[in-house]
Symmetry: D2
Subunit: 341 residues, 4 copies
Amino acid sequence: MKKLRIGLVGAGRMGAFHAETIEKRLSGAELYAVADPVSGAAEKLIHTLGSSAKAYDNPLDMFKDSGVDGVVIASPARTHAENIIRAAQNGKAVFCEKPMAVTIEEADRVIQTVNEYNVPLQVGFNRRFSKDFKSAHHEIVQGDLGTPQLLRSLTRDPVLADPAPVPEWTIFLETLIHDFDVLNYLNPGALPIEVYAVADALVRPDFKERGFLDTAVVTIKYDNGAIATAEANFQAVYGYDVRAEAFGSKGMMTIGSIRESNMTRYNKDGVSYNTLRYDQHLLHDAYVEELASFVNAVQNNEKTAVGGEEARMALLIARACIESVMQKKPIQIEHTVSNLV
Amino acid sequence: MKKLRIGLVGAGRMGAFHAETIEKRLSGAELYAVADPVSGAAEKLIHTLGSSAKAYDNPLDMFKDSGVDGVVIASPARTHAENIIRAAQNGKAVFCEKPMAVTIEEADRVIQTVNEYNVPLQVGFNRRFSKDFKSAHHEIVQGDLGTPQLLRSLTRDPVLADPAPVPEWTIFLETLIHDFDVLNYLNPGALPIEVYAVADALVRPDFKERGFLDTAVVTIKYDNGAIATAEANFQAVYGYDVRAEAFGSKGMMTIGSIRESNMTRYNKDGVSYNTLRYDQHLLHDAYVEELASFVNAVQNNEKTAVGGEEARMALLIARACIESVMQKKPIQIEHTVSNLV
Amino acid sequence: MKKLRIGLVGAGRMGAFHAETIEKRLSGAELYAVADPVSGAAEKLIHTLGSSAKAYDNPLDMFKDSGVDGVVIASPARTHAENIIRAAQNGKAVFCEKPMAVTIEEADRVIQTVNEYNVPLQVGFNRRFSKDFKSAHHEIVQGDLGTPQLLRSLTRDPVLADPAPVPEWTIFLETLIHDFDVLNYLNPGALPIEVYAVADALVRPDFKERGFLDTAVVTIKYDNGAIATAEANFQAVYGYDVRAEAFGSKGMMTIGSIRESNMTRYNKDGVSYNTLRYDQHLLHDAYVEELASFVNAVQNNEKTAVGGEEARMALLIARACIESVMQKKPIQIEHTVSNLV
Amino acid sequence: MKKLRIGLVGAGRMGAFHAETIEKRLSGAELYAVADPVSGAAEKLIHTLGSSAKAYDNPLDMFKDSGVDGVVIASPARTHAENIIRAAQNGKAVFCEKPMAVTIEEADRVIQTVNEYNVPLQVGFNRRFSKDFKSAHHEIVQGDLGTPQLLRSLTRDPVLADPAPVPEWTIFLETLIHDFDVLNYLNPGALPIEVYAVADALVRPDFKERGFLDTAVVTIKYDNGAIATAEANFQAVYGYDVRAEAFGSKGMMTIGSIRESNMTRYNKDGVSYNTLRYDQHLLHDAYVEELASFVNAVQNNEKTAVGGEEARMALLIARACIESVMQKKPIQIEHTVSNLV
């Protein structure tokens, strides 16, 4: 089968990892082009990889390149929707980092466009491709947990460098969006109906006045009765912590571990082991797996594993969180027909 | 040192365990009397233990018995406050199962009375006496966690027998009251300032109309910025599950395990181990330790480890939960001077 | 039921713990007398406990005291056999710390005497009373492991203070004797038939010339084919480490943990938890349970849980180890009829 | 940098995995040819991979192909030495699955030949490339364990299909050879000086008469005093179990886990999780890493991570085991100068 020629948007930290995956870890794809508006960034990444990909300054130009079969979008969150739409209009299959969009209006336009142009779309909810989360989902779907009653998902980033450039509401739109998707994934078929969120700047209280938030706890009620919490913090000094818990009428499942290896030390101070400090280490295989899944879906004309509807559902919760923090009260989520398509 | 002669109120499940502890596991105390209004219940317990304690039908009579040095109250929750007050008025040292009271007014009367009659009071927050919780508290007090930012405590009972006799709001007043105390204990010196609670009857939805609730999730904001969640469910088919998590600027601590023993099986189905199914097994040593601590405090004229103020603080959260569920919104906790004494 | 009046031999570290157990942790027994040839030692222990027990300098005098129902022997290992025999000749029920004897001849005399005088004898193989080991044994007996094929048991003491007073062959006769009994316990019904032992002074090589050994590894072949290893070292800086592993045709079981509590720390250095540093902490409940079991057996005229035959079987392995180290080769164990009674 | 063109010998189970690694998981190498004497085997593997590699029936022909830069040998163990020698004589860099040879004479010829023809040689001791083992080794080298005193390594294969074709002494030469290398790796710089081995056919006793052995326990003494055990069994019904333990004057390290994912189930039967059933799953990353390391060493003219001397040292132990089983006694290992080069 012919290799899928990928055009990558964004040569930053995440883009570089995806580029390396496409170039070195996937047999079904090749890195055909990289676009980044930062001068020289695309070229530098291509050089580092020893790749022969083309470099573009403008993603829109790359989208018009007929050599590109599919695009991987790893640009800043606020450009995602626009990039997806333009790529779709040029008939490209699209893999986009989360979030797919930052407003519901944008999300609706994205979904409408990919439907209109009939292109595959996959959103980067990588935890769905982690062995831990996937096996829990699988067992929940087959009924092993019974009816879900209590759910929990959390994300704790290892270190908060500079709060200054962090866009407003990032904790909901970019961090907890993962957890909202996880909770939906662990409660398959259920709809979130009410959200209550509290958030604060506890790591960097000096940035709170500018609207910066680094800590949040969210309560979500689902239409099947399940009550979920999502929790995030931007500075876990012990590493990159991603875990979940699902409790139902037939038991519980716990998901995730921050352990670096299966080597454990016993010494005069007690027992200890090392932790993973970086998302690309903790979720390495899941990052690779999601791209492999995308490439495979495109090549075989199959439905992608996580598409626009799932991304919109997670975004609905994130937007309700923002509303809840602003109004200091629980927010109902109305599910119009379009939510449910 | 002379043994402390204990009069026990309540010969039920928990009373029986405390009686056995007093009789067999504590060297500093003896079971002097048992009072239970259920005909024959006191006598039966005394007989089972092979004890020579006196039997009373009416706790009030027992409180007047000059042979009694201290009382242990294990009667139904709604009688606690009245029993404490009457015992205090008779000059008895009092250990009372949680909750100390079910309304703030009651709690205030209890605190006022024990102060007036100058008797020791200890409330049965047994988790404070578990090695797991105690060591976490100790390290938090000495600063190892830094500033607490996220806290979690949960209680899942193993089986819900008959919902019919369960009094209204039991999940907050009798179950989660433990978690509220744990959260306060893990965030020492901080005050809860806002509470949001959601609750439902998910185990037995058929009892929801009568006001029965078996599942709840609570969010608590503290005045030091920490955000806590407490979670309860009345039927964890895998056993009696009591855990907590504390996250702060210097790291995280996890507390609790449902493991029955350190024997692990590996067979064709994978790896497995047994769980504890009963609070008196999971918290066996903590139940003994709290009574030992009470007896020791009384004998040495020391302050008890957990008294009326701590119990009132947990109750404030429980009452705010009830308010939150009724009003479907977050509730502020006002701390009057009396809260803070 | 009348309390069993216990006469304790030995007021040292282990004797003191047993005394406290008898006095405070067992409802069916009382500490009636303590005998220790060290001047003032018995009195001091009795005083510390606030007990009203009698003090004896000479155990033999105590054995003649008609007030004594049973004795607990916690004197130095080389006096065990003689003490058991004298106590038995005075009609006392006997609980004796391991080893029951240090030679097979002694062991045979002990067994013969207790049979002749028809007194109950229990030997202090406390691991059989630990929840971890007991549940493994139970599941093995009911066939869950299939046929045992590989077994392992280890003992690592936390700290080697002064090697000077340690009697020759202590590592086999006093330390590994526990492991030999564990291996027999986990391979029920099988007979050890060949032993190979290597041993060295690795913690304190400067004492090797005097015959001191602090590290040993033993291989044991059983008549059902199972091959076992036992391992000991006198200085595990991380605590008191006692574990076992049983592997058979249907799976594996692992037994034991050095964890102090279920509180786990996550901080900038990784994940850590505390360890237990002392046998009386690690095996606290097993030490209590073995005495409770002994008292119960005596009071109810039941067979004790672990008697002379089991102790002799473990000793056979220990003696074969000594032979193996001296001859630097594997040693066959001959099972005469008397072994198998 | 130019890709290393690899010629693979052996299209069986392990060869197929290495082929896939070369083709799909390594960016620095390409699969240039496959040789397998079984008719059609090479072609079939090439086809399955969608590769354009050449197929050979005779490895010797492939060794003469000037397009081949390096060879990966995954043929039956008894052909390894001959294949290495022939490949070296044709100037090829060689990666060979363990064991490098099955006799010391063969091993010496291999080492002599690769030295003479000055070609790089790496032997497939994949555990050295597992994160778990590597981090333990690293910390031992930097002194964190102190002086090693007790070591353990074990291999338990998940299922014994047909014992009939298993060559004599396979358990030592092909299975435990891994553990011998692990023990050497965890005791860096020390020399094995005495070996005692017991072995039996416990899984398939019906094959014992033909010399088949499926269970073994080995004791190894090192010249630094450390005492090691190695243990193997051919049928662990719970999965592919590879673990090690290193104990020294400063503590202990445990290595390895059979856990499949970080998802844990809690249900009415207790707690459980899945296990890994297959070496290529358990050691997936280590298998890839060892080839990546080989390719990198060859391309950069660096010493390979594990060469002929290490392989010969492990083989010395394996041969001593065979001797020990035959003679039923401990065997001394003489280290001639050539051992120590």
